[in-house]
């Protein structure tokens, strides 16, 4: 992989990478101006669709396909919402893009708006990203001053406004309909679907919600073309007719018990082991990894020592991190591609308690199964870590984790799938450790979680 040249992160180390002038010098907005002059909106949609770009936000829905769901010949307005409510634990790839190269994202937004004929984009940014908010605001101001945003951009007849909207610090605002509700000034309770946002979204108008990294990818696809994009990543699995392939570069963030936590850009399909051992500098303090989160907490855990079926000598540690990989070992999916390493001296009980605390705190509380289920799982795991667990608690945890979520059909949004998955994968894969802890009545080493905050 030494030969791989980062594209999305190509400019982040440059001085003044966030300024319009620097971006212009690197050929920025040339693509946008060219597209504005030479291409029809439909051409852009077709190109993005053909590139096989899948949304980088977590679900991996084909981006171009989503755009085609918009009603044809709608009188407007059509909105584009950028989801920068990056709240999945261990995930910070959007943050780097926004703070270090905002214009790359903004160009993607402008291209996308041109494609879906939207004249208004809302950039929903989480409250905690103060620096990113200020950088983006400065970048947008620059664009208005340069005549690249506003009415009749460069005499093309295309009008676009981009508004930054700062959230109030809730995980659920990252769910697309929760984001829309929050944007409308309401409590961010996800909406029931259908209607999907592409039909009826923000302010009851057709709306597309895309992730920040997706926008950066759109910029690069329009700049470098589909051949470049498809040269990276993993083609569709011929055995799986529903697999759309995992093309393109991806920003992986490495966090947890590693020597060098960082964000790296790699073609899709790098293995978990490579990421940790090679790019993350290995597990810290000379320890070994016990478990890894393949893509944000909500995707569940892999057991690095569990052998992979049918593949000799390989363990779950060797799964490729593309849109299909984590699913093969019982995880929910690739998610945000943020991996979090748990070393072999950390108790899984504590890890699980931490996870449950997060999801219980972030459940919006609309649907009964999630509201009560996440709270119950927290109470049980809290008891486990205080050394008062019972063996049947593990079965209850798995039962509760199994029954909440959009996949069994018991909730409106996917938050509770994300809350259930780490619980059931942890208990199924590390049951012996949990049982031993219950038998010994081991108490947790830590007393209270320390929360760090910086806005």
């Amino acid at each position: 992989m030494a030969t791989f040249e980062p594209t999305l992160l190509a400019r982040i180390a440059k001085p003044n990478s966030g300024k319009l002038e620097g971006y212009r010098n690197d050929g920025g907005y040339a693509t946008f101006e060219k597209v504005l002059k030479d291409k029809q909106p439909l051409d852009v949609v077709t190109q993005v669709k053909d590139s096989g770009l899948r949304g980088r936000g977590g679900a991996g829905f084909p981006c171009g396909l989503k755009w085609t769901f918009l009603p044809k010949d709608h009188p407007g307005p059509i909105y584009l919402c950028i989801n920068a409510d990056e709240s999945e634990p261990c995930t910070y790839n959007n943050r780097i893009l926004m703070e270090k190269d905002p214009h790359q994202v903004l160009e993607g937004i402008m291209l996308s708006c041109y494609a879906i004929k939207s004249q208004c984009a809302y950039f929903y940014i989480r409250y905690e990203y103060g620096t990113a908010y200020r950088t983006l605001q400065a970048a947008i101001d620059e664009l208005y001053a340069a005549g690249l945003l506003g009415k009749n951009i460069k005499g093309s007849g295309f009008t676009l406004d981009i508004f930054l909207h700062r959230g109030a610090g809730a995980y659920i605002c990252g769910e697309e309909t929760g984001l829309i509700e929050s944007l409308e000034g309401k409590r961010a309770w996800p909406r029931i679907k259908p209607p999907f946002p592409a039909i009826e979204g923000a302010f009851r108008k057709p709306t597309i919600v895309n992730n920040v990294e997706t926008m950066a990818c759109v910029t690069q696809i329009m700049k470098k073309g589909n051949d470049w994009f498809k040269s990276l990543g993993v083609p569709p699995d011929p055995k799986n007719p529903r697999d759309a392939g995992s093309y393109g570069p991806k920003l992986y963030t490495i966090a947890g018990h590693v020597n060098e936590p960082k964000c790296v850009e790699l073609p899709m399909g790098v293995t978990c082991r490579d990421l940790v051992e090679k790019h993350g500098g290995g597990v810290w303090k000379g320890r070994k990894a016990k478990s890894v989160n393949p893509g944000g907490l909500s995707m569940g855990f892999i057991d690095v020592n569990a052998p992979l079926k049918g593949e000799d000598g390989k363990t779950e540690y060797d799964i490729p991190l593309d849109f299909n990989g984590p699913g093969k070992v019982g995880c929910l999916g690739l998610g945000t591609a943020a991996i979090c390493v748990v070393d072999d001296q950390t108790s899984m009980v504590d890890v699980l308690h931490n996870v449950c605390q997060f999801f219980s705190h972030e459940s919006c509380g609309q649907c009964t199964p999630c509201r009560e289920g996440t709270g119950w799982m927290l109470k049980i795991t809290d008891r486990l870590r205080r050394g008062l667990g019972r063996r049947e608690d593990l079965d209850i945890l798995v039962d509760v984790a199994d029954r909440i979520g959009i996949i069994p059909g018991t909730t409106i949004c996917g938050l509770s799938d994300g809350a259930g998955w780490p619980v059931k994968t942890a208990i199924r894969k590390f049951r012996a450790e949990f049982e031993a802890a219950i038998k010994d009545g081991t108490k947790s080493a830590y007393t209270k979680l320390q929360m760090a905050a910086a806005h």
């Binding site: 409590r187 009560e372 709270g375 008891r383």
Partner: protein, 567 residues
């Protein structure tokens, strides 16, 4: 004809747009639900109405391998609905060709039990001291669909109660299941939006904004809407166990909207009024004025026995001695000069009472004048929902009428039938001094309405018989003051502002010494025996074409309306 299959049973839905809950109801299958209410928007968040759905196409059933909230899932031709109650379905109905591996209803049943387990996790289970016990959906569904034991061993959340929510309503926060019906009601029907959800996850609570309590004219409905015992009416709190209450279908006498209500009584005391669904009258709700407006029936100031003025002071009388005297005095006045006899029929009387009294006097002499009693009007019609500034918003979902009587149209129709015109009370007031006899059949819950209509004191007629609850300017000048009966204490018919004819049953007996207006009409008119509402109703139907459909209609028990008559 579009057909939907509910637990194998085919149901034709016609052109209606239904969801699974409604379609199942058509098939006679109850799908339990909390957050869904036909009068409010659908949020599909309680997850109690989980059903399994699929399609029947070309003789093949394809079921979707997950559960869906029935309230949010629309049905179309060929939709197959399998509820958690599939096990109880009619086995005579032929089974649909499901996949052999598919076990109908199992998934839905489990998810309903799971939901109930979740709802009960933090519920205090204080049914013995809860007012809702006995009519609580959480109790009912837990019994029918839930598990018998809780697997929770940890401490429950105990959020504090909120009696400050409103002057009329209290919130037992820990009993709440967050169905948000109340929140949606204040946003969608009253439009006042006082209620909201605060907090997140399992620490979520219903609350008001500090300093902005739940005070609007429809607030009491949130108590009706609450499927559990979380929202309680302070008026009813801890007064009665609901299983002792007798529920009678009734019509609210508070204004000319004529809301269909249920009157809850025990031992002939009214304890509570609740709205009864009637799309033709008012919909699903009722106003607070009507809901808590029954207290006059229990007032200690209410006259409960007949009084006669002897030597300028009131003396209690007994009916057996009083009746012949009354009859003689009335007969004499009519005989001497019928033109100087007037009968006031208040708009609080039922159609039957007005007809029996009016026709009785007209039989004595055609020249006796029948007058429509004072029609109280307070302010203007009050339409809901309101916007933030308090202005009504279209479409109107509820109206509190300015006309504070239930039956002006009905009484006016009777008067028109009997004498061809409606004489308003105001035109009679200046003539009081010239009258030889005035029979005032009142029944005004608020004495001020009579006082306002009488205005300045006039020379009273020689014989003044007043039938009313409370002392008024008229009753003070009366020769005889007779007790009246409230709408809950009689059977009858009201005609609302739109001409909707609703009959209702008697919920409570009037106080012992109180003789109903209809009985008095019988006694005065030489009709023997106990007053018979059905007989009078038949007379009304025969005499008045507008009420023709009253004759063969039984009293509604399910809140079904009668044919709309144009009055």
């Amino acid at each position: 004809m579009p057909t939907v299959y509910v637990n194998d049973k085919p149901v034709e839905i016609g052109t209606q747009k239904l969801n699974c809950v409604q379609a199942a109801e058509l098939a006679g299958v109850e799908v339990p639900h909390y957050c869904y209410h036909p009068g409010l928007s659908v949020v599909a968040s309680c997850r109690m109405c989980m059903v399994e759905t699929g399609d029947l196409k070309d003789g093949k059933v394809t079921m979707i391998p997950k559960v869906f909230p029935g309230c949010q899932t629309p049905v179309k031709d060929g939709t197959v609905i399998v509820t958690g109650d599939y096990g109880k379905h009619d086995s005579k109905v032929p089974k649909l060709p499901y996949d052999p591996a598919y076990k109908p209803g199992e998934r839905a049943k489990k998810s309903q039990a799971d939901t109930l387990e979740g709802l009960l996790l933090n519920h205090p289970l204080d049914c013995p001291v809860c007012d809702k016990a006995g009519e609580c959906k959480l109790q009912d569904y837990s019994y029918q669909y839930g598990r018998s034991e809780s697997r929770l061993v940890d401490e429950k959340n105990t959020p504090p109660n909120k009696p400050h929510l409103s002057s009329k309503i209290t919130l037992f926060t820990d009993r709440c299941i967050l169905c948000t019906r109340c929140v949606r009601f204040t946003r969608e029907i009253s439009g006042t939006a006082e209620l909201q959800v605060v907090g997140r996850g399992h620490h979520e609570e219903i609350d008001v904004f500090p300093g902005r309590p739940l005070e609007n004219k429809l607030s009491g409905n949130v108590v009706d809407l609450c499927p559990v015992g979380a929202l309680g009416s302070k008026d009813f709190l801890y007064t009665q166990r609901v299983w002792y209450l007798k529920n009678t279908d009734n019509v609210c006498p508070g204004c000319s909207t004529g809301c269909s209500i249920v009157t809850d009584t025990n031992k002939d005391i009214v304890y509570r009024l609740r709205a009864r669904t009637n799309p033709d009258a008012q919909g699903y709700f009722m106003c607070d004025e009507g809901r808590w407006g029954y207290h006059y029936t229990r007032s200690t100031d209410r006259l409960t026995r007949p009084m006669a003025k002897v030597g300028g002071t009131w003396q209690p009388a007994n009916w057996t001695q009083l009746l012949p005297k009354l009859k003689y005095a009335v007969d004499e006045a009519v005989l001497m000069s019928p033109k100087r006899v007037a009968v006031v029929l208040s708009p609080f009387l039922t159609v039957e009472e007005a007809y029996a009294l009016g026709s009785g006097f007209k039989k004595m002499s055609d020249q006796v004048r029948l007058v429509l009693g004072p029609v109280p009007a307070v302010g203007e019609d009050d339409h809901y929902p309101k916007d933030v500034k308090g202005n009504p918003v279209q479409p109107t979902k509820f109206t509190i009428r300015a006309e504070k009587c239930p039956n002006r149209k009905g009484v006016a129709a009777v008067l028109t039938q009997l004498q061809g015109e409606v004489i308003p009370f105001e035109s009679l007031v200046p003539e009081f001094g010239q009258l030889s006899a005035l029979w005032f059949a009142g029944g005004y819950p608020n004495p001020e309405w009579v006082n306002d209509a009488v205005k300045a004191p006039h020379t009273p007629p020689a014989l003044l018989v007043v039938q009313d609850f409370f002392p008024t300017k008229l009753s003070e000048a009366a020769t005889y003051w007779l007790p009246a009966t409230a709408a809950f204490e009689k059977e009858g018919t009201f005609v609302n502002h739109a001409g909707l004819v609703q009959t209702f049953a008697r919920a409570a007996k009037p106080p012992v010494e109180t003789r109903s207006e209809l009985q008095l009409a019988f006694d005065l008119g030489n009709r023997r025996g106990l007053a018979n509402v059905a007989a009078v109703r038949k007379d009304v139907a025969k005499a008045m074409p507008a009420f023709a459909n009253l004759a063969d209609v039984k009293l509604p028990t399910t809140g079904k309306r009668l044919e709309l008559a144009t009055v």
